[in-house]
Amino acid sequence: MSGAPAVRRPYYRRMGRWWQRDPFFRRYMWREATALAVLAYALVLTLGIVCLALGEAAWQVWLAALRSPASLALHAALLAAMVLHTKTWFEIMPKTMPMIFVGERRLAATTITRCGWAAAAIATLALLALAAGWRP
């Protein structure tokens, strides 16, 4: 064909601020943003290990910094983000797995998600218990 005729003039819409277009997209962006919280906390912990390696004084400075109000606020925010991250991570998990069958019935996605949440909750409680001094 020799060039598109004038009446074939498809209009392309722009994608600017697409994440504001739909509540689903906004939730998606929050979900993805929680990965930054994971990264941030990994940095906090890495910093702790570096301080530990530098010796007693550095370690004490790090511990003191953790107790500051700013740090507590940061931790509260990171904890909230982490909870959201865990929730959404397990919501997506069934999408990444092949179909699972128990007997003849296909395992529902919601069941997989709930199992994930339950595992996360148990692991968290166990960790808290260990930190509180409980020993199996």
Binding site: V7, R9, Y11, R13, D22, F25, I92
Partner: protein
């Protein structure tokens, strides 16, 4: 909404994004007032406009029963089939109608879907048997369980709602996208098929599964519960395994 308000709704306004390439340089909104009834679908409302108010409004439609896949459009910002969306769900209005997002608009509510058709030809959406099977051998044996492994992905009606729900496709129109990747998986998951190796190139490609960021909205809007996000993300695992296999045993890898 409260019952009195509902009973009072005798008409409802449609705001339609119009674009006529021979008239408008860019799309414009136009309003129409249509009579309301409880069982009126958005498609029927558009047909009322075309029949009684403005014959120049263009949209695709055919079966009216959510199986031909023609009448996908953005309805109040969400990709839906006009034939199975009812005005009663959208009260009090106005109802905003726009061509499916992320696709070029050919005219009014009609998108240019040629990119999808071209993609269809790339993913080999047909059975590639392991060896030829004569008709006299009768049908393949396929247990109901084996059928279940691919049947959900075979229910895709190519309505393209999932593409309008996929920002990755909006940002990069080269992305193979949820519908086609689900269809590709449908054949890979069929016990009768032996063409998986031939299709993995399309899975692994830059525009294959790795362009997906697991937004997951595609599966939310799918009118046939195909769950394309599941099909795509399962194949990330398959693609990774494929990659490792090539890395570890390049000569043993499939062609």
């Amino acid at each position: 909404m409260p019952e009195p308000a509902r009973a009072a709704a005798r008409s409802i306004t449609l705001e339609v994004l119009r674009y006529r390439p021979e008239i408008e340089a860019a799309p414009v909104w136009q309003s129409y007032v249509v009579p309301f009834s409880e069982d009126l679908s958005v498609l029927q409302a558009l047909q009322h406009v075309k029949d009684e108010l403005d014959g120049s409004l263009s949209f695709r439609w055919s079966c009216r029963m959510a199986i031909c896949g023609s009448c996908g459009m953005m309805i109040d910002g969400r990709p839906r089939l006009a034939c199975q969306t009812f005005l009663r769900e959208l009260l009090p209005g106005p109802v905003r109608l726009e061509a499916l997002a992320h696709w070029p608009i050919q005219r009014d509510l009609v998108i240019d879907a040629s990119g999808f058709i071209a993609g269809l030809e790339r993913i080999k959406p047909y059975l590639i048997p392991r060896q030829p099977r004569p008709l006299a051998a009768g049908e393949y044996r396929q247990s109901p369980h084996e059928l279940e492994l691919f049947e959900p992905y075979s229910a895709c009606i190519n309505c393209l709602l999932c593409y309008a729900a996929c920002p990755q496709f909006g940002l990069d129109p080269g992305f193979t996208g949820p519908g086609l990747l689900a269809l590709l998986h449908r054949y890979n998951a069929d016990s009768r098929d032996g063409g998986r190796a031939q299709r993995m190139a399309a899975v692994n490609a830059e525009h294959g599964v790795w362009s997906c960021t697991a937004v997951g909205y595609c599966s939310e809007v799918c009118p046939k519960a195909v769950d394309p996000a599941h099909a795509v993300n399962q194949n990330k695992v398959n693609s990774a395994i494929d990659y490792l296999r090539h890395l570890l045993a390049p000569r043993g890898a499939p062609p």
